[in-house]
Structures are given as C-alpha cells and as structure tokens.
C-alpha cells in the first residue's frame, strides 16, 4: 500500500467526504453535544479514539471470524456487539488508568455506542474492501473529520446563542440545522480536491 493512497484516504475522510457534513453520519451527537466548545472537543477526541479502535477490531472480527465461518450476513449484529463491548471496555480502562480523561469525557463515552459514525465506519471499511492499515487510517481520520466539524459548529453555535437575531419559529434546533447547512456548503468547496 503506497503512502499516497493512505494520504488520499485521510484527506478524503477529513475534508472531501466529511463524516458529518457530507455523509450525514453521527448527526445526533453533532447536534446534541455542540453547544459548548470544550465539551465538543472532548466528544471529538473520544470519537477519534473509538472509531480508530473499532475499525481495527471490526476488521479483525470480519477477516478472522465471520469470513472463514461464512457468517458475513451477521456483520451488523457482530459489529454493534464489538462496538458496545469496546466502549464499555474503554470506559472501564479509562476509569482505572486515566481518571482525569475519564472525568473530562463523562457521559459522552457511553453515548458513543449509538453514534452511527462508529458503526458506519466499520461497515464502510468492509464495503470499500479496505485492508487492515487502510481501515485503521480511515477510522482515525474519519474521527478527526468529525472533530473538525463539531468544533467549527460549536464555535458558530456559541455565537448564535448570544448575539444572533433570527425569527422566533427558528429558535433552537432549526437555526442550528440551517447553520450546519451553511457549514456543509463551505465543505462542498473541498469536493474537487485531489492531491495529484
């Protein structure tokens, strides 16, 4: 696998095919946890970690368990179980070993199980027939793309709540969706991006 191939996967996952703004994966935490910038950053870091590790484990489960046993149709069930177990394990590990990080992430850690970006990255890895290294890179950079989007969005939203003037009916969620739409319009500018 060439380095340029990996770089193009990475660039694609962060900018061109951003998980939130182009692929629409992980909208719930994107909308739910983006009111303040520091919680958004914590969520983003947790998602990077879980997406990287989840794509690694799901690749291994698929390659060494499901394919040899011809159980590919059980992919969805197997992946969601792997992810749920993984998140639980990460939670216990952090609680024991890195309590400060565990405190910072708080409630967002268990919520990652139902983040469709995590299951999505595992399924997309299988669909795209990525090998082990490509899967891990795609998982991690997909998480970075998630973090970039949620950070940008949370800084917009902080300003939206304090100073913006919009029609009453748009209060709360609708105006957030509209600003997310404008953000995704900006990300469309990357759509022609290629490194060679």
């Amino acid at each position: 696998m060439s380095i340029t191939g990996l770089i193009s996967i990475a660039l694609g996952a962060i900018l061109v095919e951003n998980f939130i703004l182009v692929k629409f994966l992980g909208i719930c935490p994107f909308m739910g946890v983006s009111k303040k910038m520091d919680t958004a950053l914590g969520m983003g870091l947790a998602v990077i970690f879980v997406m990287g590790v989840a794509s690694m484990f799901c690749y291994l489960v698929n390659a060494f368990l499901l394919v040899p046993l011809q159980l590919e149709f059980m992919q969805t069930v197997a992946y969601i179980l792997v992810i749920a177990a993984l998140v639980q394990f990460v939670e216990m590990f952090l609680q024991k070993m890195v309590p400060s990080l565990y405190q910072a992430l708080g409630i967002y850690l268990p919520l990652i199980t139902t983040n469709c970006a995590v299951l999505g990255v595992a399924l997309l890895n299988t669909q795209g027939k990525y090998n082990f290294i490509e899967s891990v890179i795609y998982g991690i950079t997909g998480g970075i793309g998630f973090t970039v989007a949620i950070l940008l969005f949370s800084s917009i939203r902080e300003r939206l709540d304090s100073t913006a003037d919009y029609p009453e009916a748009f209060e709360g969620f609708p105006i957030a969706l509209i600003s997310a739409g404008l953000l995704s319009l900006a990300f469309m500018g990357f759509s022609g991006l290629k490194i060679w």
């Binding site: 994966l25 719930c28 969805t76 029609p167 969620f173 957030a176 969706l177 319009l185 469309m188």
Partner: protein, 215 residues
C-alpha cells in the same frame, strides 16, 4: 391510553423527527427521491413495530442493567432480516440506501421508543406505538423527499413513477436547483420543516390559551 391518541402523538404532537428530533442521520441522508423515502420509511416502520413487540414481551425478563445491550441485539436481528430481504427482492433500493439500512440499528428512534415506551408498556400498546411512530417518521421522510426532489431535480416520484422510473418532470431540467439534493439542501429543508412545525404548535397553543382566557 387510547389508540387514537397514540396515533395523534406519533403523527403530530410527538412526531419522532419534527418534535422529538430523533433519527436525523437517515432523514437528512436518503431523502433525495420518493423511492428512497418510501423504502426507508417502511423498513423503519416494520423494524420499529417488530422490535417494540419483542421488547415489550421480554420486558420482565431483561434485567435493567443490561437492557440497552439487549435492545440493541433484538433490533440488530430485525435489521439484518430486513436488510437481507431488501437485498434479495429490491436490489435497486438496497443500492441507493447503501449503508443506511444496516445503520437503522443505531437509529435513535428505535432505541428511544424501546427505552421510553415498550420497556414499560404492554404488547398491544407497544405494537400500536411502533406503527404510529413509524408512520410519523415515514410521513416526514416522504414530505422531505417530495420537496427536495421537486426543487432539486424538478421531478415527482423518481424510482416509482414515469417512464423507466425517472419520475414525472414538473420543472424543466435547466431550471432546477441541484443544491437542494446535495447535503446542504438536506440541512436547510429539515431546518425549515422543523421551524414550520414549531410555529404551528406554538400558534395552536396560544389559540387554546386564548380560548381559556375568553371563557
């Protein structure tokens, strides 16, 4: 709780998408043609009803500590069944919905209803709840699809109606706004729909309170 009230809740007062704001990912991602919207809506309707029934039957057996894991396994089982059925009988739909069919597993609507309703209520009520919420979801999907397809492609019913499933052309193709079919349009359309819903609910509320005042 009466069946009529449950349907009213599912469609309007507690609409899963417009009021409870659940299951955004699929609503935004796949509403580009009527075919997609109807297919996705019916899949979710079936999965939601089945998982609601099974979870409410098992609600006394499942210990509350591991209930989320148990819900996810039940839901994933039904999603896999529906996914395989669609792959076998509707390959076109399977191709255009892609990864979003297996992702119904983590759709917050289904997990949300399991947690909020069927884990606490009887089998019949849960089944009705599944149907009502599923219809509420489908209606929103179909409305989004019609709007986005109309402005973005200038057609109605792509994938179902018209010659070769291209849909009935309403706006000539030179005058369409392709942007509405792209991700940007998804966010904007849903934002406007939710705003309209908030406006309508608020207006109804003030009307009701006005009535009470005049009494």
């Amino acid at each position: 709780m009466s069946i009529k009230k449950q349907f009213r809740d599912g469609l309007i007062a507690q609409n899963p998408v417009l009021v409870q704001l659940l299951g955004m990912c699929s609503v935004l991602a796949i509403t580009t043609s009527l075919f997609n919207g109807v297919g996705m809506g019916i899949s979710v309707l079936i999965i939601l009803t089945c998982s609601n029934i099974v979870i409410s039957m098992l609600r006394k057996i499942i210990p509350s500590k591991i209930r989320i894991a148990a819900f996810v396994v039940v839901i994933a089982g039904f999603v896999t069944m529906v996914d395989l059925l669609i792959q076998a009988f509707l390959p076109d739909l399977s191709e255009s919905l892609g990864v979003f069919i297996p992702l119904i597993v983590v759709n917050c609507i289904i997990l949300g209803r399991a947690e909020a309703f069927s884990y606490k209520n009887g089998v019949l009520a849960s089944a009705v709840d599944g149907v009502a919420q599923g219809i509420g979801y489908t209606v929103v999907l179909v409305v989004m699809c019609i709007l986005r397809e109309f402005f973005g492609n200038g057609t109605f019913g792509a994938g179902i109606l018209g010659r070769a499933g291209e849909g009935i052309r309403i706006i000539p193709s030179e005058y369409t706004a392709l942007l509405i079919v792209l991700p940007f349009g998804g966010f904007i359309t849903l934002g406007c729909l939710i705003a309209a819903m908030q406006w309508a609910l608020k207006r109804q509320k003030t009307k009701n309170s006005d009535k009470e005042v005049s009494k």
